[in-house]
């Protein structure tokens, strides 16, 4: 790439950086607020995915220069989102255990002390400070 090419493909890296910075703050705020105020999953996850993909798009288009690349480079990377959709499309119907094919649900764990199967992860491991707080109560 010549110097002239570079000048014609220049963009404000500072502006993109500020966008990424602000979007990250908004995303973290969205995530914390959603959990705190018990938003429904569609609102919480939808907002988080919106910010995440917006940031990913900015990085790919500007920082990785995808906007300024020719058809060869674009043809290498653009099919991947469709392939990802195919993967998800194939596995999502299996997500599951919704029909009770497994003896225990995904994520079940064996309690080494009691020998019982814990089917809900939230009933299993807790951080130490969590147990101390429970004992204090």
């Amino acid at each position: 790439m010549s110097h002239d090419d570079h000048d014609s493909k220049h963009f404000s890296a500072e502006r993109i950086f500020v966008f990424l910075f602000v979007f990250t703050m908004l995303e973290v705020g969205w995530g914390l607020a959603g959990k705190h105020f018990h938003w429904n999953r569609v609102s919480l996850w939808g907002g988080l995915l919106f910010f995440a993909f917006l940031k990913g798009w900015l990085i790919a288009i500007y920082f990785m220069h995808l906007k300024f690349e020719g058809w060869v480079v674009k043809s290498l990377i653009l099919p991947t989102p469709f392939l990802i959709m195919v993967i998800f499309g194939y596995v999502m119907p299996d997500v599951a255990n919704k029909e009770g094919h497994l003896i225990h649900p995904i994520g079940s764990e064996l309690d080494p002390v009691t020998g019982k199967v814990i089917e809900h992860m939230e009933q299993g491991w807790h951080p130490p400070h969590h147990e101390e707080a429970a004992a204090a109560h």
Binding site: H6, L20, G31, W45, L49, A60, M64, L83, G107
Partner: protein
């Protein structure tokens, strides 16, 4: 070995009948290195998609899933995300400097990029130590095994990126890059931005969902 092969001398024979010299480039209309790195990044996209896809399937199939914000230090990791995004911006500055043939600019901005990457890895190692100290090891439950697999593979990519950028820094120190020859900086930068992009998605899915 036949006599023809044993006596073959590229310096003498290449210009003769063995290797005709074409007046056009038979490769794709893009630098070979850039073609290769984008092809590699496409495979990396599929690799991380597999990890994230497995995570989504396992999480959706679990009867319950712990709130990540109760188990993980979101504030520290949010700061770490800023560190990686900042290092990605610094990498862009290094590339701009390389396209101007500014050797000192490359060394300065690339050096800061390497520091940013090193800081990210250090904070992640600190986070791992804290979690392991609390007994949160991969085999405890599915939450932790998926957490360590995804963040661990990404962390290993960051380590590789830091090593790659360090090699580029030393090449820049030796004056290997000019305004017309800076593909090495650009390729390392593409990999580094990709690592940043993956983290943006992982941070959302693992820490905030």
């Amino acid at each position: 070995m036949s006599e023809a092969i044993a006596t073959y001398d590229p310096a003498v024979d290449a210009a003769a009948h063995h290797h005709p010299i074409y007046d056009y480039d038979s490769g794709p209309p893009v630098e070979r290195g850039k073609f290769a790195i984008w092809l590699f990044l496409a495979t990396e996209v599929m690799f991380f998609s597999g990890l994230i896809g497995a995570y989504i399937v396992l999480r959706s199939g679990a009867s319950s899933w712990p709130d990540p914000q109760e188990r993980l230090a979101v504030d520290i990791t949010a700061f770490n995300t800023f560190v990686l995004i900042t290092s990605s911006w610094l990498m862009v500055k290094a590339l701009f400097a390389s396209k101007k043939g500014d050797r000192n600019g490359i060394l300065f901005w690339l050096g800061l990029t390497i520091l940013g990457g090193s800081l990210f890895v250090s904070i992640q190692v600190y986070e791992y130590i804290q979690l392991i100290h609390e007994g949160a090891v991969p085999h405890v439950d599915l939450f932790w095994s998926t957490f360590y697999i995804m963040t661990g593979f990404h962390g290993s990519h960051v380590v590789v990126g830091v090593i790659w950028l360090t090699v580029v820094w030393f090449k820049a120190l030796a004056g290997r890059y000019t305004a017309r020859n800076n593909l090495g900086v650009e390729l390392a930068g593409l990999y580094w931005h990709f690592v940043d992009l993956v983290w943006v998605l992982l941070f959302t899915i693992v820490y905030l969902f």
